[in-house]
């Protein structure tokens, strides 16, 4: 065992900090600070991606040959931490974190050559077409059908919870190509140009009153077979590959730690009796401490996963565990924030948290986003495989139940 932090990692951190200090514009930082979900305001997030791309840091986790940074696991962790600390707007993940790695693993040389550079430079804006109204946790039951017709598929059906479909020009999607076999065996993975005739996009307004999600309807939409990833009816394998990659790469603890620090800061501004503040309240402090301990434990759980990945091992269902812990702690932290803010958290001004809107909020600025975050994080235990599904995976794959 070895917890030693090599000295060169300190230098690296300095380098990252200096770059962020020089490159992040005030508007971008505002977008980062005001983001209430995992998604920042798209225009500013894409602008920031372009700056990172110029430095070669838009997708550090990609293999170097495709534009990755060639960093160690620790360097990637440091980079992620510093981005959060600097309040950089999170990059839109569908291209960089999902589609890209999937293409690298499963795409043809032509597909890689065409799409990967366009992902890095932001030319393509991707969305994900997985869920359907009747296929959420039970994704394999999806019904959107792609009928073979010469060199094309003709698609009919609908996708839901498609984040930012209205901004996207490309979608990667799972569609059914065979209804006669077991559900998983009849699914194909396709890339769909969102400008193809027959696509209609209906935004869905969320609890935070922001239309981040969409429902997408397909009415005889023609997609060239060249846009298929992997073989026909083998889409489930591609999706599983992507899922594995997604899970292994997700780290929650660094961001959670910083968010919890912010809760402590805002709680320290709330007076409880004219003399003491809320962080001096034993009960609240105890709840914060319990959460902090959980985050510390998660940090080392994630370190153990990285250590296993670094040694070429499969972290297995530990990634289901970090999904559960990461999302439930995230929810807990947003809950602590609204508890600390009391009635101030109830003030609802979505117009004041649009980056660049310049609207003066009612109440302290730090209180404007807390409720939207609390509402938004409710979704984290639902999406990406609900936490019920994740617990089922652990029971089955780890405990053998």
């Amino acid at each position: 065992m070895d917890l030693h932090v090599p000295a060169e990692e300190g230098t690296f951190r300095e380098e990252v900090r200096a770059f962020l200090a020089a490159s992040l514009t005030p508007e971008m930082r505002e977008a980062g600070r005001l983001a209430t979900s995992v998604f920042a305001e798209p225009a500013l997030a894409m602008a920031w991606q372009k700056i990172l791309h110029q430095r070669g840091w838009a997708a550090p986790h990609w293999p170097k040959e495709y534009g990755g940074a060639g960093w160690s696991v620790s360097q990637r962790a440091i980079f992620a931490e510093e981005l959060i600390r600097a309040e950089a707007p999170p990059l839109i993940p569908m291209g960089l974190l999902m589609c890209g790695p999937m293409l690298i693993g499963c795409g043809t040389p032509e597909q890689k050559a065409h799409y990967l550079p366009r992902i890095l430079n932001g030319e393509d804006f991707w969305c994900q077409g997985y869920s359907e109204p009747g296929a959420g946790s039970d994704l394999a039951s999806l019904q959107t059908f792609a009928a073979s017709d010469g060199d094309d598929y003709v698609i009919n059906g609908t996708k839901i919870w498609t984040t930012y479909a209205m901004h996207a020009n490309m979608m990667f999607a799972l569609v059914r190509t065979n209804r006669e076999v077991k559900p998983q065996a009849g699914i194909t993975f396709l890339l769909i140009d969102m400008n193809t005739p027959g696509i209609r996009i209906d935004p869905i307004v969320g609890l935070d009153e922001i239309p981040e999600q969409c429902q997408v309807f397909f009415d005889n939409v023609r997609v060239p077979k060249a846009n298929r990833i992997g073989a026909e009816n083998q889409g489930w394998t591609v999706a599983k590959y992507l899922l594995m990659f997604e899970r292994g790469g997700n780290e929650y603890a660094p961001a959670l730690g910083i968010q919890l620090e912010k809760v402590k800061q805002l709680a320290a501004r709330q007076s409880i009796d004219g003399t003491h503040n809320l962080m001096q309240d034993e009960i609240f402090r105890h709840k914060v401490a319990q959460t902090e301990i959980d985050v510390l434990a998660l940090k080392f759980t994630e370190n153990r996963i990285k250590s296993a990945l670094g040694a070429g091992k499969d972290p297995g269902a530990l990634s289901s565990m970090t999904k559960i812990l990461g999302t439930e702690l995230w929810q807990k932290i947003t809950e602590l924030a609204i508890e600390a803010l009391g009635t101030q958290a109830l003030i609802w001004q979505p117009e004041a948290i649009v980056p660049g809107a310049g609207i003066e909020p009612v109440g302290p600025e730090y209180a404007t986003t807390a409720m939207a975050r609390y509402l938004n994080t409710r979704a984290t235990s639902i999406y990406g495989g609900s936490n019920e599904v994740q617990r089922g995976i652990i029971a089955k794959l780890v405990l053998g139940l």
Binding site: D138, S141, G206, E335, G342, L346, Q349
Partner: protein, 375 residues
């Protein structure tokens, strides 16, 4: 002991329930929020005509002379329909203070309030403070000639404050922040010079205001209750407001529970209704238990307040603490079990979730009331 409603209470409950079902469906509510700024004048007028705005007031004052139990019955049904109209700010808080005022104060405000033509509010909370009377920093100083008081301060999240015609304001007339002694209640007409209001929405789609009082002159006759002794009266009325909120919340909790139960009976995944999954069944059972326990404490606190029991205050603390915990559990589980649909503005469930979340924050949250219970 008898926990069943008597005939009059049953009648009231039925009539409110019918009104909510018939005239206040979710689409109607959506329009009220969008078009009417969270108060539909026609609906409010109906409240007045049905006598609901007169319910808690004494017959001598022109009211109906209803009890706390009647208010509880009314608000539980309002909770089920998620009525956004400001019954609690105007009738329970504003009216609760005014009906304890002088005959002059009562006759000046109550008739209009009961007629539905006057709105009221209670300005107590200030910024960057957890809920506490003692921390009140707003001050009211007697003028040199002793003619009136001059009020200065900044109140936050004044429920219904943006449309209130009259505002009950808690301010310090003696002592220092941290003390409950030295606080006084004032009746302030919101068109008095120096009152600056910024109205805004709350997350539950009710309305509130940020109110600055800038050298607002208040005549002696507008002191409500006794000088320097406002905290005790404030606490009494706040306790009644907590009961009212809890009654509303109990209605909300029942919707959170039973809508979720119904949803899971119809929503299919893996070829079966998700309500058939044992894990979800046990979680809904825990929701059921939390709801019933809350209802038990609502009955406990209402009856003890109604009978003026010495431990009524303690029962209210227990109720508000339980409400916070149950609201958190039922709200969060309702969203989780509704899945993606629970996260949409379109489905009612999220709106119930928002209101139950707001109720925990009002007048001290679960932790604060648990602490007070133990004191």
């Amino acid at each position: 002991m008898d926990f069943s409603l008597n005939d009059e209470q049953k009648q009231l409950s039925d009539s409110v329930g019918k009104f909510v079902k018939g005239s206040y469906d979710f689409e109607k509510r959506r329009q009220i929020i969008k078009k009417h700024d969270s108060l539909d004048p026609a609906i409010w007028q109906q409240f007045a005509e049905l006598g609901w705005l007169s319910l808690p007031f004494a017959e001598d004052d022109g009211g109906i002379g209803g009890t706390l139990i009647d208010t509880m019955v009314l608000l539980e049904e309002c909770g089920k329909g998620l009525v956004v109209e400001p019954f609690i700010p105007t009738v329970v808080l504003g009216g609760g203070f005014i009906r304890r005022g002088t005959p002059a104060q009562k006759s000046r405000y109550l008739p209009a309030l009961m007629a539905g033509t006057l709105q009221a509010a209670f300005a107590v909370q200030e910024y960057e403070q957890t809920f506490s009377l003692a921390t009140t920093a707003a001050t009211a100083t007697a003028t040199a000639d002793g003619d009136c008081y001059v009020l200065n301060g900044h109140k936050s999240v004044v429920l219904n404050g943006d449309r209130a015609d009259v505002c009950v304001v808690l301010a310090r007339t003696a002592g220092n922040p941290g003390q409950e002694d030295g606080l006084t209640l004032f009746l302030v007409d919101t068109d008095t010079p120096g009152v600056q209001r910024t109205g805004h929405r709350l997350v539950d789609n009710t309305r509130a205001a940020d109110i600055r009082f800038d050298n607002v002159r208040i005549a002696h006759e507008n002191i409500l209750g006794e000088l320097h002794q406002g905290a005790a009266l404030a606490r009494t009325v706040i306790n009644e407001a907590i009961l009212a909120l809890a009654a509303e919340a109990t209605g909300i909790l029942s919707v959170l529970l039973y809508s979720t139960v119904e949803y899971t009976k119809t929503r299919k995944q893996f070829g079966v209704a998700i309500g058939s999954f044992q894990v979800l069944q046990h979680r809904m059972t825990n929701m059921f238990i939390a709801h019933e326990q809350t209802r038990s404490l609502l009955l406990c606190a209402t009856l003890k307040m109604h009978e003026g029991h010495s431990d009524a205050g303690k029962a209210v603390h227990a109720l508000k603490a339980q409400l916070g915990r149950a609201g958190r559990l039922l709200g969060q589980e309702a969203i989780q079990l509704h899945g993606g649909m629970g996260m949409t503005d379109e489905m009612p469930i999220g709106h119930y979730f928002k209101r139950i979340t707001a109720i925990d924050a009002l007048f001290g949250n679960a932790d604060q009331h648990t602490r007070a219970f133990a004191a």
